[in-house]
Amino acid sequence: MAEPPGSDALPSDSLSFETALERLEAIVDRLEAGELVLEEALASFEEGVQLSRRLAEQLGSAERRVERLLKEGGEVLAKPFDDEAEGS
């Protein structure tokens, strides 16, 4: 159960959503178990709050990316998808 505390720097943005969420919930579980040394508890709390904010930000983003993938001349291209442009 004793993992090294947030000795690594705060998770970089390359952490996937899922990993970040799992990390957050692991932190909450550890804190609730109450077996951390005080310094570790405070560091974990800090990290937990950061993670929670970052995840909420990501969820709040309404930016969309819808693309059409096709092969043109042996290459794979991604073009913005616009189904209005599709004729029948």
């Binding site: 937990g48 909420a56 990501q58 969820l59 969309r64 990316r65 059409r68 794979v76 189904d83």
Partner: protein, 431 residues
């Protein structure tokens, strides 16, 4: 060959001639016909031609289905199949057999397509392509979602809408393919492979709207089924259908009744996630507050413990002990004194030593008393001397000047007192 009327002599023909005549006769009389019967004794030659018997209760008829015609069939020809065979009757010269050259074959009791579907389903099931153990879990938060579909039609719009409502930040990559008609299955396979090769795509939706069995036929394709089974990325089939489940539905890692439902399977709902994050934050705060509370309590307990072991505390403890000991000491001393007093009052050992000491003391006393006596002024009176005192104030007279003739005197002698008066005084000459 013209008929010879049955008059006169029977004709003489060679076998070949006779059989040929009969064959033509039959072809003319019956020609092309649909025949209902059961297929049996099926033999598939290496050439691809099918040789079998069509039979019923009354009779049987040899039949042949040539390769070209067999390939056009959706289903596989099997023994026991009740069929409708369309073809020409003739006599096969080499064996002198009546035969039906089958050009078209239709299963009785169910459509050709449905039969084909059943046959493929059974075959793939036996191969294990539908096994539950093969089905992969869908990623909870895919980096990107691939969509194989026609860009016409509602399916793709439904997927875009549903993912937009639930989790808009997940990218959608759409690969287009026809979803019905001949050759559509090959386009579907190509689109699937294109998406699977994309490094961001972690799950693929294979979707189309509802339709008839014929419309959905590409999704029952064996080629497509095997492509789905081989796909390195999980595939979710969302084929809208009223009653028919397609082969693609069976092989896919998950299936949904509509394109919208399929989209909902692959994205989490961010509203739920936001609520969960809020709960997590609450739990974080509560946990750290509890932790700090415990620290404070520990600290306070420590201080209390310190107070009990401080020098002042120890001193006070010692004083208390001292007081108690002193009290006990006093009590013990009193007890011993009382015992000693009790011993003194009672005659005992000490009393026997007393008389010797007493005698000595008396002797000393007598000696001291004798010496005192000789020094006493009263002993002087015994030798004849007298003490004169002025009667007025009792003062002892030593000098005749102390008195005048006529003064009263009190004279003390050994035997008592004499009252006298001064008649004359004379001073001593050698004073």
């Amino acid at each position: 060959m013209a008929w010879a009327p049955r008059t006169g002599e029977p004709r003489v023909l060679r076998v070949g001639e006779l059989v040929a005549e009969l064959s033509a006769l039959v072809a003319d009389a019956v020609g092309r016909v649909w025949v209902i019967g059961e297929i049996s004794n099926l033999r598939r030659a290496a050439s691809g031609h099918h040789y079998f018997t069509l039979k019923d209760d009354a009779a049987q008829l040899r039949a042949v289905l040539f390769r070209a015609d067999a390939e056009r069939l959706a289903f596989a020809v099997e023994d026991g199949l009740e069929a409708l065979a369309f073809g020409e009757v003739s006599i096969y010269g080499a064996r002198g057999e009546l035969q039906l050259v089958v050009r078209q074959l239709e299963p009785r009791g169910q459509g050709a397509l449905r039969l084909a579907f059943e046959q493929l389903r059974v075959r793939l099931e036996h191969e294990g392509l539908f096994d539950a153990g093969r089905k992969r879990a869908l990623p909870r938060f895919p980096r990107a979602i691939g969509v194989v579909t026609s860009t016409r039609g509602a399916a793709v719009r439904d997927v875009i809408e549903v993912t937009g409502a639930r989790f808009p930040s997940v990218p959608l990559l759409v690969a287009e393919a026809r979803v019905q008609g001949d050759g559509a299955d090959l386009e579907l396979v190509e689109a699937l492979q294109l998406l699977a090769a994309h490094r961001e795509v972690e799950v693929i939706l294979l979707v189309r709207g509802g339709g008839s069995l014929e419309d959905l036929w590409p999704f029952n394709s064996e080629v497509l089924a095997r492509a789905i089974a081989r796909c390195p990325v999980p595939v979710v089939a969302g084929v809208g259908h009223e009653t028919d489940v397609t082969i693609a539905d069976w092989v896919a890692d998950a299936r949904a009744p509509t394109p919208s439902a399929a989209a909902a399977l692959v994205v989490a709902d961010r509203r739920e996630l936001l609520a969960r994050l809020a709960r997590d934050r609450g739990r974080l705060r509560a946990a750290i507050a509890a932790r700090l509370g415990r620290e404070r309590a520990r600290l306070a307990a420590g201080r209390d413990a310190l107070r009990h072991t401080s020098p002042a505390a120890r001193l006070a403890a010692r004083r208390a002990r001292l007081g108690r000991d002193a009290h006990r000491l006093v009590g013990a001393m009193r007890l011993r004194l009382e015992r000693a007093a009790t011993r003194l009052r009672a005659p005992g050992e000490s009393m026997r030593r007393a008389p010797l000491a007493l005698g000595r003391a008396r002797a000393q006393l007598a000696l001291a008393a004798g010496r005192l006596d000789s020094l006493s002024p009263l002993a002087v009176l015994g030798r004849g001397y007298a003490i004169a005192r002025r009667a007025a104030d009792g003062r002892i007279v030593r000098d005749p000047a102390d008195v005048a003739p006529g003064d009263a005197l009190a004279v003390r002698v050994a035997g008592g007192e004499i009252d006298a008066a001064v008649t004359a005084t004379r001073a001593r000459r050698d004073a």
